[in-house]
Each structure stands twice: as structure tokens, then as C-alpha cells.
């Protein structure tokens, strides 16, 4: 095709900066949404432990909504829908303060929280009842048995899937481009439309995504090996 692959065009001057900014926003979005997801995931787990039916239903509904509605649609509901329900001053504040970043964080974080809550729950469920009984037999109460015996083991089991959730969250930040958050995919398209170097622009973005994803995957594999416990 006579096409010459040349990265200089997209990696020089301002375009290089655009990639850097995009990467920074992607990482910031990942971290912010991750914190929200963990907090909310733990809160959901705690709510679910309260033996009161409506609370269980609420968490179940929360989880099912976030698992069965496309993430992009959830982002649209937050970005286009929710502000329209707020009073005018709140809306103006959002518009003036990078509302798209904030709302994307909320949408991504709350959706990931549903998966986090499920991972923590299956971690807890996978601890045999006998472990709890053994702790109770020594004289620990519900909280002691939970805190010193069940949770420490459950967390070890939940960490590898949670790292996988982190990978998915990182990849999903790319959807925020659809509401104009200037993250990596969004900047890549900008570089592409300014330079017309489509192949190079997307090659750079792909390399960045892969490098970070492989890093996260390696962490997951390492954690899986390190945290594995032999039954006793």
C-alpha cells in the first residue's frame, strides 16, 4: 500500500501532550471510580448482612440493575438524565465543574460496586461454615469470628476477582469518551482527526492500554498465587 508507519507524527509536540493528558485522565477516572466502587461495594455487603428482607431486596435490585443494563446506558442516564432532575443551581455547578468527569466517575463506580459486592459475597460464602464454628468454639462472638477468621480468608479469596474487576473498570473508562470526558480514547480520536495518522494514533493508544492491562493482569496472577491457602 506504500504506507509508511511513522510514530513521529503523533508522538511529537502537542500530540504527545494530548496522549499524556488522556492517559492521566484515564488513570484519574479509574482511581476515583475504583474508590467509589470499593466503598459502595463494602456498604452493599454490610447492608446485605442485616437480616431484614427489604434490605436484601434493595441490594439484589441494585446488583441486577447494574449487571443487566449496558454501562454506556448507565452513563447516559447519569450524564443526560440525572442533572435534568436536579434544581437549576446544582445543574449549573455541575456544568461549571467538569460535570462529565464527575458523572462518569459516579456511573462507573456505582456499576463496578455491584460486581465488587458480589465478589466479596462469594468470598465470604466460600469459607466453610466449620471455620465460623471453630472460631465460635474458642469463644469468639459473631463479630470476632467474622473479623479474625472469616473475613481475612474471604478477602484472600476475593482479591484476585477484585483485581479482575479493576481491569474491567480500567477498560470501561474508555466509555466516558461518549460523554466528552477527555480520556485516552477521546484524545486518541482528537490526535487522529488532527494528524490523519489513524494507524499510528490508535497504535499508540492500543500500546498504552495493553501495557497497563497486562500490568493489572500480572498483579492478579501474582496475588492469586501468593494468597492461595491450602485447606486445613
Amino acid at each position: 500500500m506504500g504506507y509508511i508507519f511513522d510514530l513521529r507524527g503523533v508522538l511529537s509536540g502537542q500530540y504527545f501532550d494530548w496522549f499524556l493528558i488522556g492517559l492521566a485522565v484515564t488513570i484519574a477516572l479509574t482511581c476515583a471510580a475504583w474508590c467509589l466502587a470499593m466503598t459502595m461495594g463494602i456498604i452493599l455487603t454490610l447492608i446485605r448482612m442485616i437480616p431484614f428482607r427489604p434490605f436484601e431486596w434493595f441490594v439484589a435490585l441494585y446488583v441486577e440493575y447494574h449487571r443487566n443494563v449496558p454501562l454506556l446506558v448507565q452513563i447516559f442516564v447519569w450524564y443526560f438524565g440525572v442533572p435534568s432532575l436536579l434544581p437549576r443551581p446544582a445543574r449549573q455547578w455541575i456544568n461549571g465543574h467538569h460535570g462529565e468527569f464527575l458523572l462518569a466517575t459516579i456511573a462507573l463506580g456505582l456499576a463496578a460496586a455491584a460486581y465488587v459486592a458480589e465478589d466479596i459475597r462469594s468470598g465470604i460464602r466460600s469459607i466453610p461454615k466449620a471455620q465460623n464454628e471453630a472460631a465460635r468454639s474458642i469463644g469468639f462472638g459473631y463479630l470476632g469470628a467474622m473479623g479474625y477468621v472469616v473475613l481475612p480468608q474471604a478477602i484472600r479469596i476475593a482479591v484476585p476477582p477484585l483485581i479482575n474487576q479493576t481491569l474491567l473498570l480500567f477498560k470501561n473508562t474508555s466509555l466516558a469518551m461518549a460523554i466528552g470526558v477527555g480520556e485516552l480514547t477521546y484524545r486518541t480520536r482528537e490526535v487522529e482527526s488532527y494528524t490523519f495518522k489513524t494507524f499510528e494514533a490508535f497504535a499508540v493508544a492500543t500500546a498504552i492500554y495493553l501495557a497497563i492491562s497486562f500490568g493489572i493482569m500480572a498483579c492478579g496472577a501474582y496475588a492469586g498465587r501468593r494468597l492461595k491457602l491450602e485447606n486445613a
Binding site: A130, Q131, A134, R136, G139, F140, L229, A232
Partner: protein
């Protein structure tokens, strides 16, 4: 020390214990035998309320275990329980399994707890394995750590639920030796086991259970060899 007063236990429509009565005095060793599913585990689990009961009473030191307001966690510290499947905490080392209760419940200092735990491990012959993770120990070693874990809480009574039946034959001896030593030192115990040699040596009394009830009881020598208890004899033959 422990009294069962016509204890009834139901799992749904299935009656697991039917009016069990009996007493274990301080310093006594009782051995529970009986066919699978007759309710042996259920009976000793009622002592520390691992199973709630629907009728009758279980008393420990005169206190009704099932009564409202009983501090069950305190009571469980006084009654050690050893499980068939060891149930060591796999995320803690052998010594960590033992110090957990000491530091968190007894509020001992770290150094003191370690010292105490090491003493208990030495008592069951495992001082050298203190830092090992449970997954790296043999079945017999795990069960001995589990016994040490219970003993560290200074229990007044020990309950054993088939402590050797998950073990390879060559490891049964080491665990039984540890339990025998306890008995010699005057520990009150109820032990579910099918090791009749062990029963003959240490038990003050053997209780034979069938379908949720204690149907025969007596000194091991009397029970095991007498022909007056045909059902027990038949059961013992199935063991051999």
C-alpha cells in the same frame, strides 16, 4: 459438670435427639459410641449451643446453656471443642491459631501469648512446628494443633467429635496419646470415638447411642465384653 436433662432436638421433622439424659461429673471421661447418624455429634454440639435444642435442658456447672442472658462466648471458652475435620484457621500459622484466642479474647500480651502457645504445642509434641502453616502439616499434626488451640483457653471440659476418624491409621496413635495424657491429668471429657481400645483404657463410662437416644451405658469393661447387650455387640462387630 455437664447435665443433660431429657434433651430433644429436631431437624425439621427429623428427631435427632430423643429425651437424652445423663451426667458427666468433674474429672470423668465419657466415650460416646453408636452407628452413623445416631446423634453423637448433635449431642455434644448442644453442650456449647452449636446446636439449639427444642426440649429439655443442658447444664454446664449448673447453668442452663440455652437460657436467655447466658454469656455463651464465655461459656465456650470454658468448654473446648475438637472437630473431626480439625478446622484449623488456614490463614494463620500453627502458633497463630493458638495465640488468636489468647490475645483477642484473653487480652494477653503478644510475648506472653506466644510463650503460652509454645507450651501447649510442646505438650502435644509440636513445638518444632510452631511457625508452620496448617496446610503444610499432616492430619495428625493438624489435629494436635487443634487440641493445643482448645487447651490454651484453659477449658474445664473438653469435647472431642471423632478426633481420629479423618486420620490415616498411622497417625491415630499420636492423637490418641495426646488425649490420653489429658485424661490422666484429670480433664473432664466427652469423646465421640470408635476406638474401643482407647475407650477401654480411659473411659469411666461408655454411652451407646441409637436413633437419638442413649440405649446402653456402663463401664467399658462391662459393656464391651458382656453378652447382655446384643445391639451393642452387633455394632461393635461392625467396627472390627
Amino acid at each position: 459438670m455437664i447435665q443433660f436433662e431429657s434433651v430433644d432436638k429436631w431437624y425439621g421433622a427429623m428427631q435427632a435427639l430423643a429425651g437424652v439424659s445423663g451426667e458427666v461429673r468433674r474429672g470423668e471421661v465419657k466415650v460416646l459410641v453408636g452407628p452413623s447418624g445416631c446423634g453423637k455429634s448433635t449431642l455434644i454440639r448442644t453442650v456449647t449451643r452449636l446446636e439449639a435444642i427444642q426440649g429439655g435442658r443442658v447444664l454446664v456447672d449448673g447453668v442452663d446453656v440455652g437460657a436467655r442472658g447466658v454469656n455463651i462466648n464465655r461459656l465456650r471458652q470454658r468448654v473446648g471443642f475438637v472437630f473431626q475435620a480439625y478446622n484449623l484457621f488456614p490463614h494463620l500459622s500453627a502458633i497463630g491459631n493458638i495465640t488468636l484466642g489468647l490475645t483477642k479474647l484473653r487480652k494477653m500480651g503478644k510475648a506472653e501469648a506466644r510463650e503460652r502457645a509454645l507450651a501447649e504445642l510442646a505438650r502435644v509434641g509440636l513445638a518444632a512446628k510452631a511457625e508452620e502453616m496448617p496446610g503444610k502439616l499432616s492430619g495428625g499434626q493438624r489435629q494436635r494443633v487443634a487440641i493445643a488451640r482448645s487447651l490454651a483457653m484453659d477449658p474445664e471440659v473438653m469435647l472431642f467429635d471423632e478426633p481420629t476418624s479423618a486420620l490415616d491409621p498411622e497417625m491415630v496413635g499420636e492423637v490418641l496419646a495426646a488425649i490420653k495424657q489429658l485424661a490422666t491429668n484429670g480433664m473432664t471429657m466427652i469423646c465421640v470415638t470408635h476406638e474401643m481400645g482407647f475407650a477401654r483404657e480411659v473411659a469411666d463410662e461408655v454411652w451407646f447411642m441409637e436413633r437419638g437416644a442413649v440405649v446402653e451405658r456402663g463401664r467399658p469393661a462391662d459393656l464391651i465384653n458382656s453378652s447382655a447387650h446384643p445391639r451393642l455387640q452387633r455394632f461393635l462387630r461392625t467396627l472390627a
